[in-house]
């Protein structure tokens, strides 16, 4: 039996690499055999005050409990941590391995599959429509499955400018809004999304049986005796702690824009007609949520591409071609956008120039007009410092910026302070604590990734719009230890057979 399994694995490896070898791009790893052990995490930088370290290894966590530092220092520490994680996750991956960087590689202009590409897609662990699914038997290093409607995720003939992605892309709605809304660029192309998890989160879910058939529902594991508590770095398998990631991608017409985007060629699954199309995708948004010691409410970092939509103080002579913003629209914005925002069933034409309107699925092909509403909360000097170093390496990563890194600061150091927020807000606002109740403050209060949460704004009674929400507001209002993984896998399903 063991021999036959080995033969199967060997055949699948040969198959995977024989497909890879026929590509125009370098053979890419379909995680299969890995002799490299996960290196221990890097010690965290403190504040990234004077330099932007480019380290292939993600930091283990944060170096100090933020409860004992000022909010300004805490914010800088979190943003330093966020950028270091972004660099490490976008580092070229060790071929044949999952989650392990090639420490001999460099960040440069070459497009290579990154550590991020090798994390586990949620459909590899969760198959909610398959009652015979045996999630416990899945190993982190298992090859990417090739049994679904799209077959192998490897795209033959992918160009070196846009190497083949390592997973099927099948989510076409932002957040949990399947079949309800989409976000589309100025070409009317729908943004597509992936959700992946790292090894520590994978192992925790798998080993606890939280991915077994009928062991979970929309609200997470059905067990009433086991409370989900994802491991932080110190008590995790690899020492890095749990991580969940969401990527957002524009569909590009060809690979000519790949000199400024993280580019991949991917099979995009259309559930409506059970069909797959091969698309060239450019990364426009990335959520990274990590649970580490000293931050039990996770650290919520989110990045965007610089050409998504302009800063709130766009200059008159800005001639950038933004992907989700039309200058001509901004100049001719209809007077009645307010009524569009409040209409029960707005007409398709009204969407085109009105900002931050929820795009009906029925209006596929219409572009979104997305605006920032507020200056981005992340520190400008931190973004500039990392972008500068990345530019010196000629890496496309120079075209991304940290929108924000949200974290929880207890008002009084102590675990009960993490029970409820001092400054709840947003759509799913939780009741405020009474005076004297220990609580945590969410810093910054508002964070919004335009291409993942473009709709997540408030329409004010004065006719304007504002930001009012954040990662933590939503994830801690109804999430399971802050996670919507179970909701995500129940809502968006890619069946492997």
């Amino acid at each position: 039996m063991i021999i036959s399994i080995r033969i199967m694995i060997l055949l699948s490896v040969i198959g995977a690499f024989s497909v890879g070898c026929s590509n125009k791009s370098d053979p890419q790893p379909l995680a299969a055999t890995c002799d490299v052990k996960m290196p221990p995490p890097a010690p965290p930088s403190e504040f990234c005050l004077t330099e932007a370290p480019l380290n292939p290894l993600a930091p283990a966590g944060i170096f100090q409990d933020p409860a004992y530092m000022s909010s300004a220092d805490g914010q800088r520490m979190m943003e330093c941590f966020a950028w270091e994680t972004f660099i490490a996750y976008n580092w070229p991956a060790e071929p044949g391995c999952r989650g392990i960087p090639d420490t001999t590689a460099q960040l440069d202009a070459t497009q290579k599959l990154s550590v991020l590409d090798t994390f586990k897609a949620t459909y590899e662990l969760f198959q909610p429509t398959n009652k015979d699914w045996d999630a416990r038997s899945i190993a982190w290093e298992d090859p990417v499955p090739d049994t679904g409607s799209c077959g192998s995720p490897v795209v033959e003939n992918a160009s070196s400018a846009a190497p083949s992605m390592n997973q099927i892309v099948y989510q076409k709605s932002p957040a949990f809004l399947k079949n309800t809304s989409v976000i589309a660029d100025q070409n009317g192309e729908t943004v597509v999304y992936t959700v992946t998890i790292n090894q520590d989160q994978f192992e925790y879910i798998r080993q606890n049986g939280f991915a077994e058939p009928k062991a979970y529902s929309f609200a997470g594991p059905s067990s009433t005796t086991t409370k989900v508590n994802f491991p932080a770095n110190a008590d995790s398998t690899t020492g890095y702690g749990s991580a969940e990631l969401k990527t957002a991608w524009r569909v590009l017409s060809d690979d000519s824009e790949c000199d400024s985007y993280v580019c991949r060629t991917a099979k995009v699954y259309d559930e409506d007609d059970s069909d797959c199309s091969e698309e060239i995708l450019g990364l426009v948004g990335l959520h990274i949520a990590r649970k580490v010691d000293y931050s039990p409410k996770w650290i919520w970092a989110t990045f965007e591409h610089v050409n998504n939509t302009p800063p709130v103080d766009i200059s008159d002579d800005d001639d950038t071609s933004y992907s989700f913003y039309s200058q001509s629209c901004a100049a001719t914005v209809p007077d009645d956008c307010y009524s569009v925002a409040v209409a029960a069933s707005p007409a398709e034409a009204d969407y085109t120039c009105c900002a931050n309107i929820l795009m009906e699925v029925a209006f596929l092909g219409s572009p979104n007009q997305l605006t920032r509403l507020e200056p981005i909360p992340a520190l400008a000097d931190m973004n500039e410092m990392f972008q500068g170093v990345l530019a010196a390496h000629d890496s496309v990563l120079q075209n991304y910026f940290l929108v924000g890194a949200q974290w929880a600061k207890p008002d009084v150091p102590g675990t009960d302070a993490y029970d409820r927020p001092c400054n709840p807000n947003g759509a799913w606002r939780v009741p405020e604590p009474s005076d004297g109740t220990a609580c945590y403050t969410q810093f910054p209060a508002h964070v919004r990734n335009a291409v993942i949460e473009g709709y997540n704004i408030a329409n004010n009674t004065d006719g304007g719009q504002s930001l009012t929400d954040s990662c933590m507001n939503c994830h801690w209002a109804t999430g399971i230890d802050g996670s919507f993984i179970w909701l995500s896998v129940m809502n968006d399903i890619y069946e492997l057979d």
Partner: protein, 232 residues
């Protein structure tokens, strides 16, 4: 609190209209959504209409939505039902529902709803007969300001019926999308005499958000307040 007009209430003072309306009503009770998937709101409800069962709804979901809406109309919730604790008429800043909302719970579910707000008690699913009814209003003339309470905009309903409503296609991994509720949205913006259901049954527009609230019997107010009980 302004008195709110319940949209869709027939004008009983006009006999001709009433006759036509009754005839239409009888037709509607056996109607299913037409070939284009259209389902109109019955604006001339039979005074004896009762809540359908989940089995009825599985057979004809359009007629089911019509019957439930008639039960609500006949009940005059603004006079006879209570608003839930967070349900008084308020400005809704967010993308879902309408800009002004008022949320009622039917008498059959009122006690259970309030009991369910207590996290010290186990979460018991709300009983059959419970209707959560959101009356939605636009601002007057579409401008910021007061709600146009004389002209309802949309209604949003979740109804718990005898036998849980869960057609097999909505059952995933042993759990039913949106729970055992029958959901619908009705649009009254075009004309209060020609309203229609914009979605009914298990619409993604409802379940997309409410699927996050399974622990509160799919009601966000219950789920959130059980996790974060209001403090004095």
């Amino acid at each position: 609190m302004p008195s709110t007009a319940i949209v869709g209430t027939p004008d009983w003072n006009q006999p001709a209209k009433l006759t036509v309306a009754i005839a239409l009503s009888l037709l509607c009770m056996v109607a299913v959504a037409d070939d284009d998937g259209f389902c109109n709101v019955d604006t001339s409800c039979d005074s004896n209409v009762e809540l359908p069962t989940a089995t009825d709804c599985a057979t004809d979901d359009c007629a089911c939505a019509q019957q439930i809406q008639c039960v609500i109309t006949n009940s005059s919730p603004d006079d006879n039902w209570s608003t839930i604790p967070t349900g008084d008429l308020h400005w809704n800043a967010f993308f879902w529902h309408t800009r002004f909302l008022e949320t009622y719970v039917s008498p059959a579910g009122e006690d259970a709803f309030h009991a369910a707000l207590d996290p010290a008690q186990p979460m018991t699913p709300l009983p059959a007969g419970t209707i959560l009814y959101k009356a939605g209003y636009d601002p007057i003339d579409g401008e910021p300001g007061d709600p146009d309470i004389d002209q309802g905009a949309e209604v949003f309903v979740a109804a718990k019926l005898e036998g849980d409503y869960c057609p097999s296609e909505y059952e995933i991994n042993g759990s039913c999308q949106g729970g055992g509720w029958f959901w619908y949205m009705a649009d009254y913006t075009a004309s209060d005499t020609d309203p229609f259901f914009s979605a009914w049954g298990k619409p993604d527009k409802c379940t997309a958000c409410h699927n996050t609230a399974e622990r509160g019997d799919w009601m966000l107010s219950l789920d959130i307040q059980r996790a974060y009980p209001p403090q004095p």
